[in-house]
Symmetry: C2
Subunit: 155 residues, 2 copies
C-alpha cells in the first residue's frame, strides 16, 4: 500500500470538493503536469482510496425537503432477524443512510422524505410491521448544517 505524498493529498482535497475539475486544472493548482496528475489519480483509484465519483443532487428540488434521523431498537439480536431487517432498510430508497451501532439503540437511519405523511407510511411498513422492532425514536432535522461524505485528509 503506497503511502500518500503531499501531491496525492492535495489532489484528494481538491477532488473531494469538486470532482469535476479537469486534470490540467488540478495540475496548475498543485504544480504538476497533467500526466502526473493522471497517474496519481488512476493509482489511487486502483488502490481503492478513491472509491468513485458521484453527482450531488439537491433533495429539495427533487421533492424531498424533509430529513429525519431515526433511532431503532430491536427486540432480538438474532442474526437472521437482523439481516432481514437490514435488507428492508437498505432496499428503501428513502433511507439515505443506515448505521448499525452500539449504545442505547441498534440502528440509526437517516431518511429523506416528501412530508410527514410519507414518513408515517414508511415507518408503518419498516417498523410497525416488524415484530422484532421494539421501538424507534424520530428526530426532525430543522437544518442540514453540514452534509456530504467528506473524509479528512491530513497533511
Amino acid at each position: 500500500m503506497p503511502t500518500l505524498n503531499t501531491f496525492d493529498k492535495q489532489i484528494l482535497r481538491l477532488l473531494q470538493r469538486d470532482g469535476g475539475l479537469s486534470q490540467s486544472q488540478i495540475g496548475e493548482q498543485v504544480n504538476l503536469s497533467t500526466a502526473a496528475v493522471n497517474r496519481r489519480i488512476k493509482s489511487m483509484q486502483a488502490e481503492g482510496i478513491i472509491d468513485g465519483q458521484v453527482a450531488v443532487l439537491d433533495p429539495r428540488r427533487l421533492g424531498y425537503p424533509l430529513t429525519l434521523i431515526v433511532e431503532v431498537r430491536v427486540e432480538s439480536e438474532r442474526i437472521d432477524l437482523l439481516e432481514e431487517m437490514q435488507r428492508n432498510f437498505l432496499a428503501c430508497p428513502q433511507v439515505q443512510q443506515c448505521y448499525y451501532v452500539t449504545g442505547e439503540c441498534d440502528f440509526v437511519l437517516i431518511f429523506l422524505v416528501r412530508d410527514m405523511e410519507h414518513y408515517v407510511a414508511l415507518s408503518q411498513q419498516l417498523f410497525h410491521a416488524n415484530p422484532n422492532i421494539r421501538g424507534f425514536r424520530t428526530m426532525v432535522a430543522m437544518s442540514r448544517l453540514k452534509t456530504g461524505m467528506t473524509v479528512p485528509v491530513d497533511d
Copy 2:
C-alpha cells in the same frame, strides 16, 4: 422550474450512481444522443438540481476507520450561543455531518475519527469546553451499511 421528464430522471439516477459516466455512455443507456444528454445535464446544473460532483474517498484507507454518531443537548437555545456552537462543529474536519434537530436532543453529529483517543480529544474540545452543552451521547457505528448522499428520484 422545468418539470423533469423520464429522460432527466434516468440521467439523474445514473449520475448519482456514477458521476464519471461519459455523456455518450449515458446516451446509450437512455436512448438519447450525446448532445441531448449534454443539454439536459447542463440545464439541470443551471437549475441547481444537480448541485455538483465529488470524489468519494474510502475513510479507512485514509486512516479514519471509526464512525461515531453523537447527540448533543444544549443548555440554552440563545441564538448567539447556538451559532457559535455551530461554527465550532462545522470548522472541525472530523465532523462529517451536522444536523440541527427537534426532539430529545438538539444536534446530531456524525464523526469520522482515527480511534477512540482521537474522539475523546475532540469531544473535550467541542463539548466539555463549552458550558452551553448540557450533555452528549455517543454511539459507535459497528457497520456503515449504507452511506452516501443519494436522493430518491421517483418515476
